[in-house]
């Protein structure tokens, strides 16, 4: 049975040379690369500005702003962990303070009772994130959408309440009197009470987390995670497991939250149950949303804006929640893709309709 359409198909196949295919696929890859370039530029701006800030602060002999900046960076680490889940997996965690606080407590206990070792403390904080994240993840990833948000919310609240009532952990007072930590970095030895050095060290750690995560989102594994946000039910038919992917992301995210938390007692010299409270979780979510969920670089800016904004507003009034709340709601309504998403769209002159 001769079929003219088969003939047409054959000619088309012959006409399409390999060079032409690569050209067309390249357009698609170029688009991705351009997106990465814009995001990469924003990240470069962020880390350069932070470095200049540190040098300026050092010259001025400043303590207050460098320490505030360090705190902002620590919260930026937490925001990055939340963005991995929210921006990529579409999983809104309202309980990441749990892993952050746990990391802080474990680090505080190690520094105080075991040994004032920087490396041991951050290893302990990260490990606690790994363990708690595995348990919490197994519970939470069963739930979808808003259920996930509410489960993580409840989980953090329950643990915070237990810590709050545990005398051995200082109950409502938390743990105070964390010793100053000498940190040996091979080439140079610093101390955790040196504002400039500790800021810079924290900056390097946050940069490492950022690089690691932005690398991870460019791997096939990261792409599968992003696909979960859009069409989870389809993935098994492509051979992927949404459950394992989500659990993996949850555990990585908790480890990063724990690592970030482990830096806190070195900066402030104490930990308290407040670190596990809802406000810490929501602040991380707010930083992600106003900065731009799914961009990773956005939450860095978001965390800075939040910590410094609160400090500025706080010098006028103690009611900074109103200001943050209004700002946050305005962002959700008018700029749902956040600061970095907005910049990205602007620079790419896009026909973007992210779904």
């Amino acid at each position: 049975m001769p079929d003219p359409l088969v003939a047409a198909e054959v000619t088309r196949g012959a006409r399409g040379t390999r060079g032409a295919h690569i050209g067309l696929a390249k357009v698609a890859i170029d688009r991705e690369n351009e997106e990465q370039r814009v995001v990469g530029c924003l990240a470069a701006v962020f880390f350069l500005a932070a470095l200049l800030f540190a040098i300026y602060g050092w010259q001025q002999g400043d303590t207050f702003f460098l320490r505030l900046g360090t705190e902002a960076l620590i919260y930026a680490g937490l925001a990055l962990s939340v963005d991995l889940l929210l921006g990529h997996g579409g999983l809104l965690s309202l309980g990441h303070a749990l892993f952050f606080g746990l990391g802080a407590y474990v680090s505080a206990l190690i520094l105080k009772d075991v040994s004032p070792s920087f490396w041991l403390a951050i290893a302990g904080g990260t490990l606690s994130g790994l363990l708690a994240g595995t348990v919490g993840g197994i519970i939470a990833i069963r739930a979808r959408g808003v259920y996930f948000a509410l489960i993580t919310f409840g989980m953090a609240q329950v643990v915070a309440k237990i810590i709050y009532n545990t005398q051995e952990l200082g109950a409502s007072d938390g743990i105070i009197g964390i010793p100053i930590v000498p940190i040996s970095l091979g080439i140079v030895d610093i101390r955790s009470d040196d504002p400039f050095a500790f800021f810079t060290l924290t900056l390097v750690i946050v940069a490492a987390i950022y690089v690691l995560l932005s690398y991870a989102t460019r791997t096939p594994y990261g792409r599968v995670l992003s696909a979960i946000r859009v069409n989870e039910s389809r993935l098994p038919f492509l051979g992927y497991s949404p459950a394992y992917t989500k659990l993996g992301a949850f555990v990585i995210s908790s480890m990063i939250a724990g690592l970030s938390g482990s830096l806190y007692p070195m900066l402030r010299g104490f930990v308290s149950p407040e670190l596990m409270y809802f406000e810490v979780s929501t602040n991380a979510v707010i930083a992600v949303v106003i900065g731009g969920a799914g961009t990773l670089v956005g939450p860095l800016f978001g965390a800075m804006a939040l910590v410094f904004g609160k400090s500025v507003v706080g010098s006028y009034t103690e009611h900074h929640l109103i200001v943050v709340g209004v700002f946050f709601m305005a962002s959700v309504i008018f700029l749902p893709q956040g600061f970095a998403g907005f910049v990205k769209d602007r620079f790419m002159g896009s026909q973007d309709d992210r779904s």
Binding site: D3, L5, V6, E9, R12, G13, G16, R18, A20, H21, I22, L24, A25, V27, A28, I29, D30, R31, E32, Y215, A216, R218, T219, P220, Y221, R223, V224, A227, V230, N231, R234, P236, F237, L238, G239, Y240, S241, D353, R354, S355
Partner: protein, 248 residues
């Protein structure tokens, strides 16, 4: 080379509530052929399809894939054994480009360590995606978002995505549904070409297409196999005439 059927179902049944949607279906799908499943609405075609592709677990009966009992095996594992399917409702990743959709699907063939290397570092996957783009005439829309494609293009992408894992069996759920006549013809040519290299199973409403395309036709009615045979045999089957084609 191998004459055993690639898929066999043995006394496969599933009921929803009191209704037996698929009732005692025993069926062999032969290797390297194009087999179509037809039947009136509510005959259980889609349910059978969902059973074989692992989307539903049967109430009773067994499913054998390439000699192994795969009854109740999750979709993901069936997929790894070379069973891929497309969907009637096109529901891929509309916000991603055609290229990304295909690449995501194609990456499944690079397991292990490769999953942790950048997506751009995999020439084999890239080559596979390019081949699919050209094979399905999607090159010119490679950088477009899947949600922006025409209906015909979306249906083609749907099949291309299912093929990206280089399956042994390709199951297509109403591949030409909602297509224009020209698109249908083009898709039919495509499917025939695919059938040269792998086993294809189709659920389809379009009888003319089925008769034209298939090596083997299975007719379902009320969840049971009414007849199975070549298109000629089915055309001549009296039961089928009365139950199905007669009303067509």
């Amino acid at each position: 080379m191998n004459d055993t059927p690639i898929i066999s179902t043995q006394n496969l049944s599933i009921s929803f509530g009191g209704l037996k949607a698929v009732d005692d279906v025993t069926l062999d799908i032969e290797r390297g052929r194009i087999t179509s499943v037809i039947g009136p609405n509510g005959a259980g075609k889609s349910t059978l399809f969902n059973l074989v592709s692992g989307a539903l677990a049967p109430t009773s009966g067994r499913i054998i894939l390439d000699g192994d009992d795969v009854t109740g095996m999750p979709t993901r594992k069936l997929q790894a054994r070379g069973l891929a399917r497309s969907f009637q409702i096109t529901n891929l990743f509309p916000g991603s480009t055609v290229f990304e959709n295909l690449r995501l699907a194609a990456h499944i063939l690079e397991p292990g360590v490769r999953g942790f290397l950048p997506v751009s570092s995999s020439p084999a996957t890239l080559a596979r995606v390019e081949k699919l783009l050209s094979q399905f005439n999607l090159e010119s829309v490679a950088a477009d978002r899947a949600g922006h494609l025409s209906h015909g293009e979306q249906r083609r992408l749907e099949i291309a995505v299912a093929l990206a894992c280089e399956p042994k069996v390709l199951m297509l759920d109403e591949p030409t549904q909602g297509m224009s006549h020209v698109d249908t013809q083009e898709t039919s040519v495509l499917i025939r070409k695919l059938g040269e290299n792998l086993t294809v199973v189709i659920v389809e409403h379009d009888i003319d297409l089925v008769m034209d395309l298939s090596d083997c036709v299975v007719v379902l009615a009320q969840g049971r196999v009414l007849a199975q045979g070549t298109p000629q045999q089915i055309r001549g089957n009296a039961d089928v005439q009365t139950a199905y084609l007669g009303g067509h």
